[in-house]
C-alpha cells in the first residue's frame, strides 16, 4: 500500500491537471458570472488575502506528509495574533510583538509534536485538544474582548509595498521559496518524505523520527506565529475568534493541491495552487454576494471532492 521509496521530486505531469484544472475552472466560472472579478484591483486583492492562508498551508503540507494533521493551527493563529496585539500595544514595538507571537506559536507546535511523537497520541485528537487549549487561552488573555489601538508599525505591514509589491505578498513568496528549498534541497526535506513514507528507514539510518516529527510540528507553530502578525495587521486589532476555522482552509488547500493523506508524498506548488483555488472560490462567491457561510460550506464540499478523487487515484 505504502510507497516505500523516498521520492525527492514528484512527478508533476501526474498531478498538475487536477489542481490547475480546478483553479482554471474556478477563474473561468467567476470571470463569467461575477462582475469585476477579472479587474486588476480584485485579483491583487485575492492574492493579498491569500497570504495568511499560504503561511498556514505550506507547513500543513509538511505535517500531512508525515501522515499527521494539525487541527489547532487556526486557534493557535488566533492566540498568536492576540499576543502580537497585546505585546506590541504594551511595548510599542512591532518586533517584540512578532517575537511573542513566534514564541507562543512555536511552543504550541512543539507541544503538538511532543504529544504526537513522544506520547503517540493520534494527531487529529492531540491537536483537537490543543485547539481547545489555544482557544481557551485566547479567551482568557483577551477576556473575550477585541484588543484595539495597535501601533502603526504593525498595521503598516499589511498596507506597505516593496518595489510596488504589497509586503504580505513578498512575505508569502519568501515563505514559499524557503519551504521549497527546505523540502526539495535539504537533507531535512528528504527526511520529511521518509517520515510519511518509510519511518523505519530513518531509524536504520540512525536518525530520530521523533525529533524530526517535533521539528515539523514546531515549524507549523512558528508559521502560525508569523501569520499572526499579518492577521493582527490586517484587522488592525486582535480578536479572540479571528482565526478559528482557518486550519480548515489550509487543509482544503493541501487536499486540493494533491498532497495525499496516506502515502507520505506532498507537493508544495500544488498547495500554492490549492491556496489560490480556495482564495478565488471565496472571493468569487463574495462578489456574487453569497454570504460567508456559503463560502465555508463550499470549501467543505471542495475538500470532500478532492479527497474522494485522491482516493480514486490511489486505488487506480
Amino acid at each position: 500500500m505504502r510507497e516505500a521509496a523516498i521520492v525527492s521530486e514528484p512527478n508533476p505531469l501526474q498531478r498538475i491537471p487536477g489542481v490547475a484544472m480546478v483553479l482554471v475552472l474556478l477563474i473561468a466560472l467567476f470571470s463569467v458570472i461575477a462582475p469585476g472579478f477579472l479587474s486588476v484591483a480584485n485579483l491583487s486583492n485575492v492574492l493579498v488575502q491569500s497570504t495568511i492562508l499560504t503561511m498556514l498551508a505550506l507547513p500543513m503540507t509538511l505535517i500531512i506528509m508525515t501522515e499527521g494533521l494539525d487541527l489547532s493551527m487556526g486557534a493557535v493563529l488566533t492566540l498568536t495574533s492576540l499576543c502580537v496585539a497585546i505585546v506590541s500595544l504594551a511595548t510599542k514595538s512591532m518586533l517584540l510583538g512578532l517575537g511573542a507571537g513566534l514564541l507562543v506559536g512555536t511552543a504550541f507546535g512543539i507541544a503538538n509534536g511532543w504529544l504526537v511523537a513522544i506520547l503517540g497520541i493520534p494527531p487529529f485528537v492531540a491537536t483537537l485538544g490543543t485547539l481547545g487549549m489555544a482557544q481557551g487561552l485566547s479567551l482568557i488573555v483577551s477576556d473575550g474582548q477585541s484588543v484595539v489601538g495597535i501601533p502603526h508599525s504593525v498595521r503598516d505591514i499589511y498596507s506597505a509595498t516593496l518595489l510596488g509589491i504589497p509586503v504580505p505578498i513578498v512575505m508569502a513568496l519568501v515563505t514559499y521559496a524557503a519551504f521549497h528549498g527546505l523540502l526539495y534541497h535539504t537533507r531535512f526535506g528528504t527526511y520529511i518524505f521518509a517520515l510519511g513514507g518509510n519511518r523505519e528507514a530513518l531509524r536504520y539510518a540512525g536518525l530520530s523520527p521523533n525529533r524530526l516529527l517535533i521539528a515539523v510540528y514546531a515549524i507549523g507553530g512558528a508559521m502560525a506565529g508569523i501569520a499572526g502578525l499579518l492577521m493582527t495587521a490586517r484587522m488592525n486589532s486582535g480578536h479572540p475568534t479571528a482565526g478559528l476555522g482557518l486550519e480548515f482552509d489550509a487543509i482544503a488547500a493541501v487536499a486540493v493541491g494533491g498532497t495525499s493523506f496516506e502515502r507520505g508524498n506532498g507537493w508544495l506548488l500544488g498547495t500554492l495552487l490549492g491556496v489560490l483555488s480556495v482564495g478565488v472560490l471565496r472571493n468569487g462567491l463574495n462578489l456574487i454576494s453569497l454570504p460567508s457561510s456559503v463560502q465555508v460550506a463550499s470549501v467543505g464540499v471542495l475538500v470532500i471532492v478532492a479527497l474522494f478523487l485522491d482516493g480514486l487515484r490511489s486505488r487506480a
Binding site: L128, G132, L139, E262, S293, I304
Partner: protein, 325 residues
Amino acid sequence: MTDITKDAIAPPRSFLSQDAIQLFYRLLAALLICAVLAVLSDSFLSLGNILNVLRQASLTFFIASGLTLVVLTAGLDLSVGANVALSACIAGTVIHKTGSPALGILTGLACGGIVGLLNGIMVTALRIPSFIATYGMLWVLNGLTYWYMAGETLHGFPAGFRQIGSGYLFGLPIPVYLLLVFLGIGTLFAQRTIWGQEIYAIGANPVAARLSGIPVARRLLLVYTVSGTMAGLASIIFLSRLNSAEADIGESLTLPAIAAVLIGGTSLFGGVGTVFGTFIGALILTLVLNGMNLLSVSANWQPLVTGIIVILAVWLDMKTRRRTQ
C-alpha cells in the same frame, strides 16, 4: 512486578475483568471530584445543583453515546456539534411553521440521521478517513446553518414542547429519564446484540471482521447514522431547554462530547469501551465544569480545561493499555 514470560504463559486471573476495574476507577474519580467540590463549595450538594449537573450531563451524554459507537469502530465523528445546531434550527423552524412539536421532533431526528448517513457514506463508499470526512461535514453544516438562519434567532416554543428539556417528573428532570432510557438501550445494543458485538469486532480488527463475514460497510453506515440521530435527539432537548435556536449553539458541544467518550475509557483505536463508561465520562466532565462554575472561574477557561482533559484522557488510556497488554 512479575516475570514477563510467566505472565505470557499464565495470564493473571482476577475476580473482575479489566474493563470492570477501569470503570471502577472512573467511578472513584467521579466520587473524588464530588467530595472535593462538596468541601470547596457550599452550594454543590444542594438538590438544585445536583439536578442541574445530571441535566447537563445528560445533554453531553446524548451526543457522546452515539459517538461512542463510532469510536468503537476506530472512527471519529467531528460533525456532531454542528449537526446539533443544524437539526435544532430546522426542527425549530418546523415547529414555528406548523405549530406541531411532534413534527418538529421527527424532523430534527431525521435531519440528524441523514447527516449521519452522509458521514457513513463518505467513510464507507468514498473511503475518506472518518476524521477528515466528518471534519469537512462540520464546516459544510456550519455554513448551511449560518446561511439558513441569516443571523436570526428562533424564539418561543409551545409550553408542552419545552417540558421535554426543562420539565420535571417525580422531582427529576425529564432529560434524566431519557438519559436512563438511552443508557439502557445503548448498553443492551452494544453488549447483548449481535450487531453490537460486530461493531466491537470491526473496531478490534476490520480485516478479520470482514473475513469472518461481517457486513462491515453496512454496520459502519448504521453506526454513523445512529451517531447523527443521537445528535438530532440532543438538538431537540437543547431546543426545548433553551427555548430558542441560533446558528452557533453547536460550536461548544463537539469537544466535550469527545472528552466524555475518551474519559469513559473508549479507546480511539477501536474495539474497547462501553456506553456506560461514556455516561461516567459525561458525568466527570460535567462535574469539573460545574465545579469551575461554582468556584466562579470564568467560562472562558472551559475550552482550555476541556482540551487538557481530552489529551490527559487519551494519554492515560494508552498508558494503562500498554501496561496491561
